[in-house]
């Protein structure tokens, strides 16, 4: 198995894990919060707001800018 395939499999597993978490979170009885709930919670303080918006701005600059 090549290094590239292992790296890509890692991303694939993490993506599947993220989707699984998202699906599990949307079940009413789950103790796992939805990503939306997580973001809302992070945005409740000013340092959280600045952190989330700085991360978002960085993503734009990193991938596009």
């Amino acid at each position: 198995m090549s290094s590239r395939l292992i790296t890509l499999l890692g991303y694939g597993v993490l993506a599947c894990g993220g989707v699984t978490l998202g699906v599990a979170a949307h079940r009413g009885t789950s103790t796992i919060p939805t990503f939306d709930t997580l973001v809302r919670w992070a945005l409740r303080t000013r340092s959280g707001r600045i952190g989330v918006f700085a991360a978002w701005a960085w993503m734009g600059l990193h991938f596009l800018g």
């Binding site: 090549s2 290094s3 590239r4 790296t7 890509l8 890692g10 991303y11 993490l14 894990g17 993220g18 978490l21 979170a25 789950s30 103790t31 796992i32 919060p33 990503f35 939306d36 709930t37 997580l38 973001v39 809302r40 919670w41 945005l43 409740r44 303080t45 000013r46 340092s47 959280g48 707001r49 600045i50 952190g51 989330v52 918006f53 700085a54 991360a55 978002w56 701005a57 960085w58 993503m59 734009g60 600059l61 990193h62 991938f63 596009l64 800018g65």
Partner: protein, 214 residues
Amino acid sequence: MVTLMRRLLAVLRDPVAWILVIAGVVELISGGTAARGAILFAGAALIMADRIRGALVRVRVNHGGPSAGGAVAVMTAPPLSPEPLKAAVESRRWVVGGIAAVLVAALFGVHTLPLTAVTGIVGVVAVGWAWLTHPHVDAVERPPLRGLWIWGGALLVLGLWELGALLLQPNMAEGSYDHPTISYLLDPVLATYGGRVAGLGLWAFAGRTLVRRA
């Protein structure tokens, strides 16, 4: 004075500021542009400024100090309401304008001056807005700790996997076919006009969602 110093030192205990500083350092040593590092360092600086502002306000309230002037007055001014921008991004005019802006901006290649300027200016305005406005007043209940750990762990593993791929590149500035980072994988997609429209559109949509949630 001792109280003020203790509160100012509390700035150093903010984990979000440290995360941004570490991310900024990684960005710079991995060959990123100054603008990318700067937005992260600016975020950390604003968090520290906010903590200093809070300490100054508390000292003024506790000691009934004289009205401050200059920079201190700006620092201790009450935060603005986030509602005007939240209402604006809901409007059809902003949505149509945003779509038009994405379609025009995508005409330029990634990592070119026009796109750096667009994403940089929008990002700086958004971070500044987050600093100047007060958080939403409705109480947000803390999600279960177990759930926070699970999401935090997943994001940490993703970050470490990406960092591993970055460190296995021939050098920090040169991508590797064998150990691709996410940006290396996305570069061919973003080299096309359609890919840039999708990328910019998703980024703008995420920003609009964040403003609505903030």
